[in-house]
């Protein structure tokens, strides 16, 4: 079927509303990205950036052991956060989607938006009170005979930071897909001899797949590039790609090498995001 041609006025009207998008995308996404790629071929001589076209930065970074270690650590860490945040969020979004009254739903969802009001840095600092040597948690553990010392500067603390960052968002994304799930499908499954446990695995999870995957994806994206948690919760002891970038820049103005790392990160995120989206919206 051929679409009817838009009249000139309607075309003008719609292009008025659409025009900011390509403009902003070019100015703030495509432009900087191209600049970054270009920068990755530059040279640094005597701590000064020199425009050039050489592959040295790429070779150095991609053949460096420390880079791949950091890459593995970051990727694995972000995957763990995606899994942990998704699992922690699931009971909550199930309650919001299927159990709570309309009023309670809105209240709980509202509470999950509140963390966005405060800076992430502030929230991470407040965790330090709990996790430090004489913090609330180590004191409590000491009371039952577990001497832990400081829980800060550990992988555990880093995960706590990541989850702090991502959990509210994952809950909101999951809840949206739970709320838009057609409850009749659950009754239909019961009606066809499917018990409550199987309904969860055979109907509810596949039916809300898009929300679950998108929630996990956002947790991955946010923690993959996060600089705050590895720095303040991990104490910089576990260099992730974000820390590597700052270190590379600080040590000898190596902007081009930092650009290489950044491009690899963007590439990874694009692949992960596209794969997830494909999984989320795959048709049977």
């Amino acid at each position: 079927m051929q679409k009817p041609a838009l009249s000139a006025r309607r075309l003008l009207y719609s292009s008025f509303w659409v025009s900011p998008l390509p403009f902003w995308l070019t100015l703030f996404f495509l432009g900087p990205l191209l600049l970054l790629v270009w920068l990755s071929f530059w040279d640094v001589r005597n701590f000064v950036l020199q425009p050039d076209f050489q592959l040295d930065n790429w070779v150095k970074i991609l053949s460096a052991n420390y880079f791949w270690q950091a890459y593995g650590r970051t990727f694995l860490g972000a995957s763990c956060v995606a899994a942990i945040a998704s699992l922690l969020a699931l009971p909550c979004s199930l309650a919001i989607g299927f159990i709570l009254s309309t009023r309670a739903k809105l209240t709980v969802l509202g509470l999950f938006v509140v963390p966005f009001f405060t800076s992430y840095l502030v929230r991470v600092y407040s965790w330090q009170i709990y996790l430090t040597d004489n913090g609330v948690i180590s004191n409590l553990l000491a009371a039952i005979g577990l001497e832990t010392g400081s829980l800060l500067s550990s992988k555990f603390a880093m995960q706590v930071g990541y989850v702090t960052l991502t959990l509210p968002l994952v809950v909101v994304i999951q809840s949206i897909s739970m709320l838009s799930f057609d409850r009749t499908l659950i009754n239909a499954a019961y009606n066809l001899g499917c018990g409550p446990v199987r309904v969860f695995f055979s109907v509810l999870l596949p039916g809300t797949r898009a929300g679950l995957i998108l929630g996990a994806l956002f947790a991955f994206i946010f923690s993959f590039g996060d600089f705050v948690s590895p720095t303040y919760m991990g104490g910089g002891k576990f260099p992730t790609l974000a820390i590597l970038i700052t270190d590379t820049v600080k040590s000898g103005q190596q902007w081009p090498r930092a650009a290489v790392i950044a491009i690899v990160m963007i590439g990874t995120l694009l692949i992960v995001a596209l794969t997830s989206l494909k999984l989320a919206y795959r048709r049977k």
Binding site: D182, T184, L185, N187, A188, A189, Y190, N191, L192, G193, C194, G195, R198, S202, V203, P206, G207, R209, R283, K284
Partner: protein, 377 residues
């Protein structure tokens, strides 16, 4: 087990189908807080029969179906299936698959996976359930679509998937909740014929909830008419059509004129009743037991009233004014009004209307025979 039930059905059907009660509803009451959805309802659903439950919105017909399926618990009363109570049975144990008004197909599964869902839940092996799902898909003309996703199907095709999903487990009963309401008129007619054919061939019990007269009357062996949570009348479609038991049923089905009258004399074979617009003669049996002076509602079906320009055509007549006309194919539905404001409905062939030369606003005599008068509560 299903096969046994089916042979039973055919055996019983030969003898006395009406005595084989599949589902018995006993004194069912369903309250939602203070609101009463179903009140003290008793109903037998016969095995292997097509039972249509109809009534206006909010009459409790859908609630009744949900209680049957176990989606709602009943407040008091009992539901017996082949004599055994299923009141406390969980939904997933009831084996009464339902065709939902919204169809409720699983959008994340393919057509084939939707059809075989019930089999998968009852632990049928993969090969076997594929075979049976394919068999049903082909019975319902879905062969080419089995690997499609649900959103790639048309309304009629989705309808068939929903049906196949119910029938694939070979249940002894299926429930249908206004399944055709989303289809256009042409497709709905086609599906009606198909549903009836399937029901006859399979010999299983269909409980069909609808608000559409044509659906209920064209398919059902038994029609149950509900109002305000009660059964107003149940019986064969023809029986209900010919003799509506209550004025609610008559009004709900439409096309009948109701005249309130007082019995004047019962002396001869003929009973005379006085109405606001004249005295009418009635000869059907149901008038025999009446007392002089008792008040009754007289009902006459639209197709049993004829019109004439002059008086004296039949034993009963009343002078009316034509207030409305509606053309339905070769038929015309006329709405008349007597001097006292009572509404008379008449159905005529178009050609009769032409010879009579009647138009809206004209005066005319409505005539009917004494044996076509019935009493209604």
């Amino acid at each position: 087990m299903t096969a046994k039930i089916q042979t039973n059905t055919s055996m019983q059907a030969d003898e006395s189908p009406s005595q084989d009660v599949h589902i018995a509803l006993r004194d069912i009451r369903k309250n939602y807080g203070k609101a009463v959805a179903i009140r003290d309802l008793n109903l037998n659903i016969d095995r292997g029969q097509f039972t249509a439950i109809m009534g206006p919105s909010g009459c409790g017909k859908s609630t009744l179906l949900r209680c049957l399926a176990g989606l709602e618990s009943i407040t008091t009363g009992d539901i017996l299936r082949s004599g055994r109570s299923i009141r406390h049975q969980e939904i997933w144990e009831r084996e009464m698959p339902m065709v939902w008004q919204s169809l409720a197909l699983f959008p994340f599964l393919s057509v084939l996976e939707n059809i075989e869902f019930g089999l998968r839940m009852s632990g049928v092996s993969k090969g076997e359930r594929h075979r049976r799902a394919h068999e049903w898909a082909s019975k319902l003309g879905l062969d080419e679509y089995v690997n499609r996703s649900i959103d790639q199907l048309s309304g009629g095709q989705r309808q068939r998937v929903a049906l196949a999903r119910c029938l694939v487990t070979e249940p002894s009963i299926i429930l249908l909740d206004e399944p055709l309401s989303a289809l256009d008129a042409h497709l709905s007619l086609q599906m009606q014929a198909e549903l009836k054919r399937l029901q006859r061939e399979l010999g299983i019990t269909f409980v069909y909830v609808t608000h559409s007269h044509s659906e209920a009357f064209s398919m059902a062996d038994k029609v149950v008419i509900m109002n305000e949570g009660r059964v107003e009348q149940e019986g064969a479609p023809q029986e209900i059509y010919l003799k509506p038991a209550t004025s609610f049923v008559a009004r709900f089905l439409g096309g009948s004129s109701i005249l309130s009258c007082t019995v004047k004399s019962t002396e001869t074979d003929e009973v005379l009743v006085d109405g606001k617009d004249g005295t009418f003669r009635c000869t059907s049996d149901e008038f025999r037991t009446l007392q002089v002076g008792s008040k009754i509602n007289l009902i006459v079906r639209a197709d049993q009233i004829s019109l004439s320009q002059e008086s004296g055509w039949a034993d009963n007549e009343v002078y009316c004014r034509v207030v409305g006309e509606e053309f339905v194919g070769a038929l015309v539905n006329l709405q008349l009004e007597t001097a006292s404001g009572c509404k008379i409905f008449v159905q005529l062939q178009q050609r009769d209307l032409k010879t009579l030369d009647i138009e809206v606003g004209a005066g005319v005599f409505a005539n009917w025979h004494p044996e076509d008068c019935h009493i209604i509560n």
